[in-house]
């Protein structure tokens, strides 16, 4: 069975007055029907642009410079623009980070949910409204009949994000793309919204691609993970395997630099330096300048993404030494203590 969505070697470029920013550099990923996939990285890693490229919603002036997007076994990149958009938006819905700007401020929220059923699914006005109210109920909005007539600014952040989820679901998609959907929310609201997403995913069998900078959020929600750094996927695989035994120094360091609410450590691991400037292309692994384990080869050779057993992959030349990383770092910490 072919996966629902398959992305091959996607490149996104942003032409700027001072040069071209190569923001996504050959990303490949797959999402099966009903599967929850996480895309993790920090700002500038290209995770959000990747997600937007999937739906053909890249912000001006970014554009896909090469790569294939295969939906249901059909390469949509080869289709005419209109047909491509029809297929992509028919199969996927999207949730954004900031629900206040993602909703039209001068339109009632109910009408915004009812729009896709009415215009795309061809329902009558009454049917579309009923569908919208039903969706609002499903995403946990109390008193949906009344809230149908509310404007976005009249709702709280959590309520608005639920509306956005309802909009994403309104076109009966098979895959939801969510771009940092809970980053702007408080933790208690975040937990509720994530709960809604999870239960809907299970009940409706809708797939999910979740983009987040927060490993914990992704680990609670997704089954597979792609870790991105500087426009590339540096590691991928089943989430539990990646988190418990990372095979790339970036994921390894990230896991040890983020505090755990249940287990405070004596000292957090720091990742020195900062993400690279994507305007320039330096030779070698883009993480090498910050890597704790980099060797000379890492600075000369661009590591390819190699497949590992257990449906995993990593873009590190020294991934075979990964088992020793923990000891190396632990030894270091004690040395520094003295």
């Amino acid at each position: 069975m072919s996966p629902l969505l398959e992305v091959e070697d996607l490149h996104v470029e942003i032409p700027l007055p001072h040069g071209t920013l190569h923001a996504v550099r050959g990303v490949s990923l797959t999402a099966d029907a009903g599967e929850a996939v996480g895309l993790v990285g920090e700002s500038g890693s290209g995770k959000s642009l990747t997600l937007r490229a999937l739906l053909g919603l890249l912000p001006q002036p970014a554009r896909i410079s090469s790569g294939r997007i295969v939906l249901d076994g059909v390469d949509v990149t080869a289709l005419p623009a209109r047909e491509r958009r029809r297929r992509l938006t028919g199969a996927m819905g999207m949730v954004f980070q900031d629900s206040l700007t993602a909703l039209n401020p001068v339109m009632r929220v109910g009408a915004q949910i009812a729009e896709a059923p009415r215009r795309k699914l061809g329902m009558s006005a009454a049917q579309a409204k009923a569908r919208a109210v039903e969706l609002m109920e499903r995403v946990g909005i109390p008193d949906p009949e009344r809230r149908y007539r509310a404007y976005p600014h009249e709702l709280s952040g959590g309520m608005r994000q639920r509306i956005c989820i309802a909009i994403a679901l309104s076109g009966r998609p098979r895959l939801i793309l969510a771009d940092e959907p809970t980053t702007a929310l408080d933790v208690t609201i975040q937990a509720q919204v994530l709960g809604v997403v999870e239960s809907l995913r299970r009940a409706e069998g809708v797939g999910l691609i979740l983009v987040s900078h927060d490993l914990a959020v992704v680990s609670e929600t997704c089954r597979r993970i792609y870790v991105m750094y500087a426009g590339r996927v540096v590691e991928s695989g089943p989430i539990l395997d990646v988190l418990s035994a990372p095979r790339h120094p970036y994921s390894f360091a990230l896991l040890r630099s983020v505090p755990d609410p249940d287990a405070p450590v004596h000292r957090l691991l720091t990742i020195p330096g900062q993400p690279p400037d994507l305007m320039e292309t330096a030779a070698g692994c883009s993480f090498a300048p910050r890597c704790l384990f980099a060797a000379d080869a890492c600075r000369e050779q661009d590591p390819p993404l190699v497949a590992l057993p257990g449906d995993r992959a990593t873009a590190c030349l020294r991934h075979e030494e990964a088992d020793r990383w923990s000891d190396l770092v632990a030894g270091l910490a004690t040395v520094e203590e003295v």
């Binding site: 900078h213 997704c222 418990s244 405070p264 910050r290």
Partner: protein
């Protein structure tokens, strides 16, 4: 350990616009009690974590402490001396703040050298001819190269700017450092740098610190004691380990339970399941503009009692710590 900073009965109220039209329409005068009766003690050498969600008043409280607002009621005491009206120069030097946003917290039109030099000169920290030397020492302290002195903030990355912000706070040689969400605007991979730096500086310079954050994991990592704020009040406070291991207030429990956790080992068959099935509360604003009366968590609380119609004060649960573990809930035996 002796007290370095104390807050007693602090209230900070902001008044909204109230025009002629509102008067004619007989609308109530809008007022927002961002901080509504807070007591707090910071002891020498300790780190107090202040957690809460957006709008709970934690930022307002910290700004009151550094003297940016004049409190509506209550006192702030620095080393036993209350701030009367405008803080004195010595009081300004005593407590300094590290701000949240590394992009707006530095004047874009001044070089790092000017930012630090201005403070060193105005407060006469060192003789005039020593200003350059002292500025370099400050850069050493936060791990920035000397050439930073001639550069403007926009030539630095977010993490480096935050280091400049810390150097600026340290220039006045404060005893107390207030860190207001110092890492929330930074990339995850840089956050640990700043957290470790702050902890190191606290150690070497013998500072006391109030660490304000919405990030519960970070607060657990850095603080000795933790205070949880909700709608302008502290609803639970105590030694960090006790608050995290035995949360007493229902809100604290919800808060701690809501934090997403890294799932590294789970029975086969799929993703995590531990998603709290919290009943959806009515879309209430986190900060009340009107007085509700009673416990301010009552409308969201799953275990509310009729007795909650009267607002509980902080009650002692155990007193093995210096200040004890307290919570403001009717379920805590008084």
């Amino acid at each position: 350990m002796s007290e370095v900073l104390a807050v007693e009965g602090l209230v900070q109220q902001f008044e909204g616009r109230y025009g002629l039209a509102d008067r004619i329409a007989r609308r109530p005068r809008p007022a927002l009690r961002a901080v509504d009766g807070v007591d707090l003690v910071l002891r020498e050498g300790e780190t107090l974590g202040l957690v809460g969600e957006s709008g709970c008043g934690k930022s307002t409280l910290s700004r009151c402490v550094v003297g940016l607002y004049r409190p509506t009621a209550g006192v702030v005491r620095l080393a036993g001396e209350p701030i009367a009206g405008t803080p004195t120069r010595a009081q300004r030097r005593f407590v300094q703040m590290v701000f949240q946003d590394p992009y707006s917290s530095l004047n874009p039109r001044m070089t790092v050298g000017q930012i630090l030099g201005e403070l060193l000169r105005y407060h006469r920290i060192v003789p005039r001819d020593q200003v350059a030397k002292r500025s370099r020492e400050l850069l050493d302290l936060v791990g920035l190269p000397y050439r930073a002195l001639g550069q403007t903030p926009r030539q630095f990355s977010g993490g480096q700017r935050q280091r400049i912000g810390i150097a600026r706070a340290l220039a006045l040689e404060p005893k107390v450092l207030i860190a207001d969400e110092p890492v929330s605007a930074l990339d995850v991979s840089v956050q640990a740098n700043i957290i470790n730096l702050l902890l190191d500086l606290k150690q070497t310079l013998g500072l006391s610190m109030i660490f304000v954050s919405h990030n519960i994991a970070v607060v657990r990592q850095v603080s000795d004691r933790t205070a949880v704020m909700y709608r302008g009040r502290i609803i639970e406070t105590g030694p960090t380990e006790q608050v995290f291991l035995e949360p007493s207030h229902p809100y604290t429990r919800l808060l701690l339970g809501s934090v997403p956790r890294l799932v590294t080992h789970v029975a086969a068959g799929g993703a995590a399941t531990a998603i709290p099935a919290e009943p959806v509360p009515p879309a209430a604003l986190p900060t009340a503009t009107a007085e509700v009366g009673g416990c301010r968590y009552r409308d969201r609380c799953p275990v509310a009692l009729p007795a909650c119609a009267t607002e509980p004060g902080l009650r002692l649960i155990s007193d093995d710590g210096e200040e004890g573990h307290l919570a403001a809930c009717q379920h805590v035996p008084g």
